[in-house]
């Protein structure tokens, strides 16, 4: 597993990848901060969602844009992991790797660990950049920043980071599982996007409890650190079950299936 972890990191430790990741994190910081601060209201909106001037002036204000923005990048992470893993399976590079590292589960685990470590790093960068962007835009929106940079603010930042990382890891692992089952990039992407995008949200319109049970909606709640309808603990527990089932099934399929084509 360590060898495949290091091998995967070699692919990620390239200048082009670093530039793309940095630009992505910067774009996320600017877009999320601008959207959250410009749309902040004096009082909370329906269902308690969205930022207020009061919440932004609190200890967690510096990373609120990060937390809200992170709940929307799950789909992007899903797409990236599906494309990466399904690409390995459909283009034959996994065959080349397996001839060098025949312990299949160790290979897959090392690869996923490296990708998740990379995502964790990019997420950290995005949070730092979001704090900087928030500090820059706050005065223009009459948001006080005096309570951002104390211990409470640091705790809020760590909590927001942990929530976002948990949610994104879950999206990533579910993306990997879909890719292992389907192997084809376009089909896996179609399934992932339709499931996580319109499918669950359409059902949510006709069944109000959908966000308490469906994995995609639970993941949105988890990444946002919990919502008024779904507590963080419930979202975390149910998502953990979904992810455990999906990853276990994918591991069995990956370990046993013939590698051809």
């Amino acid at each position: 597993m360590i060898r495949s972890f290091k091998a995967e990191l070699l692919k990620l430790r390239r200048r082009r990848v670093a530039v793309v990741a940095t630009v992505g994190a910067l774009a996320f910081a600017v877009i999320a901060t601008t959207a959250v601060f410009l749309s902040a209201t004096q009082t909370a909106g329906p269902r308690g969602r969205g930022a207020t001037i009061e919440s932004l002036s609190g200890a967690g204000g510096a990373t609120e844009a990060f937390a809200l923005g992170a709940s929307f990048v799950g789909l992007l992470v899903l797409v990236l992991f599906i494309a990466n893993v399904a690409g390995e399976l459909s283009q034959g590079t996994i065959r080349t790797l397996l001839m060098r590292q025949p312990r299949r589960l160790a290979l897959l685990a090392g690869k996923m660990a490296a990708l998740l470590a990379f995502v964790a790093g990019v997420l950290m960068l995005a949070e730092v950049l979001t704090v900087a962007a928030s500090a820059a835009i706050a005065p223009s929106q009459d948001v006080a920043t005096s309570s951002w940079f104390g211990l409470d603010g640091l705790g809020e930042a760590a909590s927001d980071y942990a929530s976002a990382l948990l949610g994104i890891c879950a999206w990533a692992l579910l993306g990997m599982a879909i890719a292992v089952f389907v192997r084809s990039i376009p089909i896996a992407l179609g399934i992932g996007i339709v499931w996580a995008g319109p499918f669950e949200h359409i059902l949510q319109d006709s069944w109000t409890s959908a966000d308490r049970w469906f994995p995609g909606l639970l993941l949105e709640s988890l990444t946002a650190g919990g919502t008024d309808d779904v507590a963080f603990g419930r979202a975390l527990a149910l998502v953990a079950v979904y992810v455990a089932v999906a990853v276990s099934a994918a591991a069995v399929v990956f370990a046993r299936r013939d590698v051809t084509g």
Partner: protein, 307 residues
């Protein structure tokens, strides 16, 4: 000495279709073994089973003395190129090799030497996506050589190459076979391999039709030496001279046909030339005719083998 590869009744079925059926082969160590058969004969499936990529439906085998069921016990000493070169398009050739070396736990310092060996030293820092097909194949060979393997398994390495590429690849395979390394190389065209192989395995429809030294296959082919005198009127006298020297021959138009019958063709040709010369006949023609190795192979494949 332990065979490099031993398979016993190995089978792979996909539903009702048998891709490989009761395949039993032994590849001695240190040979270049040509694995030949038409497209769809089961060559790639067999190689994939040797590499742990495909699980056999039945049978058993050993690779480098280790059981087929535990590929991790022998794959560290095996290098392979199967189903074409598959690498990361955005990485350079050298970076691709570094990823594989790291995954296998091999020393990365060997990469420049391997790129040099396969003629990619000047292009090692170019992206894989910019390589020609021949360069991709050569990078695949370099990847297979990581860790200096005892057994090389190459699946159709010549397929798709232009004539110059074929010539180059044959030379490379010959160089790779030096020393004690065993090479198993597949092709659906026997003529691509006959110059470099000293051992042949021929399969068709998943079944073995021939296994043994390449020279044995030639012996079974009924090859002849065609001998023609400078003056056609000397044909019968030449036949008498050859018969007196212990070589049976038969008339075949304007020349005589002498069966090779397992002799070294060059040695036999020298003997016939000497006998003719001693009788005062100048030869105008002396060449191997009859069934070539390729003819023999095609006959066997059509007939289902005669092991």
């Amino acid at each position: 000495m332990t065979n490099a590869i031993t398979l016993h009744s190995l089978s792979k079925r996909y539903g009702a279709r048998a891709a490989v059926e009761n395949l039993t082969i032994d590849v001695p160590p240190g040979v270049v073994a040509g694995f030949v058969g038409p497209n769809g004969a089961g060559k790639t499936t067999t190689m994939a089973m040797l590499l742990g990529l495909v699980k056999p439906s039945g049978g058993s085998g050993r690779v480098l003395g280790k059981p087929l069921e535990t590929p991790s016990s022998y794959l560290g000493r095996v290098g392979a190129l199967v189903e074409g070169p598959a690498f990361y398009p955005a990485l350079t050739g050298a970076q691709n090799l570094a990823v594989l070396a790291t995954a296998a736990g091999h020393d990365r310092s060997q990469i420049p030497g391997l790129l040099d060996l396969v003629g990619l030293a000047a292009r090692g820092d170019d992206r894989f996506r910019d390589y020609s097909f021949g360069m991709k194949q050569r990078l695949g060979i370099a990847a297979a050589l990581l860790g200096n393997p005892s057994l090389l398994i190459l699946d159709e390495p010549i397929n798709g190459l232009d004539p110059a590429g074929v010539h180059e690849m044959r030379g490379l395979i010959g160089r790779l076979a030096s020393g004690s390394r065993t090479v198993l190389v597949s092709s659906h065209v026997l003529t691509e391999l006959e110059q470099v192989c000293d051992w042949l395995i021929v399969i068709d429809a998943g079944r073995l039709v021939f296994e043994g030294p390449a020279s044995e296959l030639l012996d079974r082919g009924g090859a002849n030496l065609a001998v023609a005198p400078e003056h056609p009127g000397d044909l019968e006298r030449l036949r008498g001279l050859l018969t007196a020297a212990g070589h049976d021959s038969r008339a075949a138009g304007d020349h005589l046909a002498v069966a090779i019958n397992g002799h070294d063709p060059r040695g036999l040709a020298a003997a016939l030339n000497r006998a003719a010369g001693e009788g005062g006949i100048v030869l105008a023609e002396l060449r191997v005719t009859g069934a070539s190795l390729e003819d023999r192979y095609l006959t066997m494949v059509k007939n289902g083998g005669d092991r």
